[in-house]
Amino acid sequence: MIPELGNFALTLAGVLALGGAGMGLLAPLDEVLQRSAMSMVLGQWAFSFLAFAALVYAFAVDDFSVAYVANQSNTLLPWYYKVSAAWGGHEGSFLLWILIMGSWMLAFCLRSSQYPQHFTTRTLGILSLLNLGFICFALFTSNPFMRLLPLTPADGADLNPLLQDFGLIVHPPLLYAGYVGLAIPFALAVAALMEGRVDATWARWCRTWTNMAWAFLTCGITLGSWWAYYELGWGGWWFWDPVENASFMPWLAATALVHSLSVMENRGTFKSWTLLLAITAFSFSLLGAFIVRSGVLTSVHSFAVDPERGMYILIFLALVVGGSLSLYAARAGQGKVKVGYSMLSREFFMLVNNVVMVVSLAVVLWGTLAPIGYEALTGGRISIGTPFFNAFFVPLGMALLAALAFLPVLNWKRTRAETLGSVYQALAIAAVLGVLLWFVLDPASVAVASAVALSAWVVLTHGQQLLSRWRRGRLPAAYLGMTLAHLGFAMATLGIAVTSTQSTESDVRMTPSSTVELAGQRGTVTGVKDVQGPNYKAQQGVFILTELDGSDAYELRPEKRQYLAGGNVMTEAGIAAGFFADTYISLGEPLDGGAWAVRLHHKPLVRWVWLGALLMALGGIVAVFDKRYARRRKAAADHVVLTPSS
């Protein structure tokens, strides 16, 4: 009964989306219809919420007559995983996607008093149209409420053990909030094109939403990387896997958008380019959904055999991209403002950022699609390895750091070269630091020393400006946010450079009471014992780690788990997490004579990768709290507002 109600609620949400789209797009100037478009958006959220609640309820009470529940859950599963299993599979995660879409629309309604009424209505109409597409996809190709009647299984197939984890509870909602959040800048861009109103005020409206969506996306990707690190059991944190790339591509586009919006708001230029980025960012969200959900990754053939979901998304993608780009082609470029700027200006350095982001996007897109294209054309199979991505991302990252170091002292329009003295002083200090570290630590290559020096340079120039602005009492939230995000970027790059070159890893054969040395520590196995979990049994290795002189002893207990329901085997690493380094042990396989194959890692600064990324996200959120974005009743000035350079 409850699942049928859920299905009904989802259908109603779809009907309201249709209504909202119709009213929002066809009659944005009629006051009565404006209000009803708004209430239809509220309705979409409410009914999506009910549908989602119904699914969670089906999981909570182990209703295995629902096919999706039977595939994803099991009576032995702890209750919190039963709830999170609701978004552990394709159908349920898409329902979560719809709920999050509804929530963003709701948030937009709540803040809509600062935009002109007809503009709000148009935007909500576009968002409703997109939501209609999502809801139809769920109802027609991926309905989570399908029943298995009368052949109801006695127990469920169990949630994949890799997903029985805290990471899975929080990672998808955050990531989806990012993906779907990019729909708002998209809708704002399309509404602006329809109204022929593209100005600095529009950019100010758009920035809040873009920053929030970008921050969610950043957190989501970071959590995914962290989850892969501790849960896959083998110490890697980024694999250039197509599924990861699918989330990285919209992130790159959104990062470019965050920066070009800043230029547009402050200087009134970069208009057409910004609109294009807003459309691109959301299009890559949809492309990611296509790559991940169509089965095209498994094989082009599997996509051809079961093309239903893939074709649906592909057609939807074609409509969204085709429609918005046609509108763009027809309308963009109107009302061009000619604003000059020199090479030494913030505008130019923002342009550098945008070029780097777009090139990165091209690299990731190529690396992701080339194997698919190759298979479609020749039938042969290829894989593209990590060195391909590194060949581009190492120099691009360095270039970005170098450009970033100049940013704090740059003004809009032009900067006198004489004012750059402090930047060069900081460069000197950073270079000395990099060379010193190179000698002391003897890193693998000059590239690491340069990464250290460049990161230090960014930290120094940003720190110096931050301090001087704070002393003068001129530190608006937007500037603070920018500084935090840039410091986060430097921190993450430093972490990536150091952990990917300075980590030590060894695979060894260990018998009880044998010892092994790893990066200045001594590891001893005291034994391997059997332990019993709620829904698995495991063999647990007990390792004692000490400094070489015998001090600082601690214990790690990696496990090899076998899950009772599906029989899946999983490696659960033992990790001693530290701010400066992690020690990471995983059990391989049992060998003859009571020995075990064991992998030990020492990973310096690996946490900086994620902490840096979180700092970036925090910066994006802090910037939203700048005074100029504060809710204003009648801020909807209909002309260009150029704020003086800050």
Binding site: N71, G88, G89, H90, N160, L162, L168, H171, P172, L175, G224, W227, A228, E231, L232, G233, W234, G236, F239, D241, V243, E244, A246, V292, R293, G295, L297, T298, S299, H301, S302, F303, V305, D306, R309, V355, V359, A362, V363, A370, G380, R381, I382, S383, I384, G385, T386, P387, F388, A391, D507, K560, V569, T571, S586, G588, E589, D592, A597, R599
Partner: protein, 170 residues
Amino acid sequence: MNPKRKQRLYLTVFLLLVAAGVTALLIQISGENMNMFYPPADVVSGKAPVAQTLRAGGMVQDGSVMRSGEDLGVSFILTDHQGAEFSVQYTGILPDLFREGQGILVEGQLSAGGVFYATEVLAKHDENYMPPELMELQGIKPGAKPPSSMPGYPSASPDSRSAPSYPHDS
């Protein structure tokens, strides 16, 4: 040509050059880092190149897995059960789902003597998902529905470089 047009022309030419350069680099570098996949028949017949990084796959022959007594060296034979088989040498930890009779992928180089020196061993990702190359080998029609459908299921492979993935693709 007036100066404004001239400027625009320069900009366009510059952008085109940059785009062409990036594209050339993409093709060049991805070509260098591309690994082809070969089934056992191609490895045996010599169709697979020697001393180049490539991927091969097959079923682990029953009784062929030999572990060294001292270190983590291991050797096994991959077969397609149709007469083509080759032996693989590997040092390190095998994936959780590596078993005799199971389909697996290896990445590494083929020696002139026909022995495959693997740097990575990838097994089926979990009980439901297997790499698409292997599905075709085992004659399973790929994608009779991508298994409930989780293409990039995280492989619990010990080789960090090869382990895909993520829960959100479920």
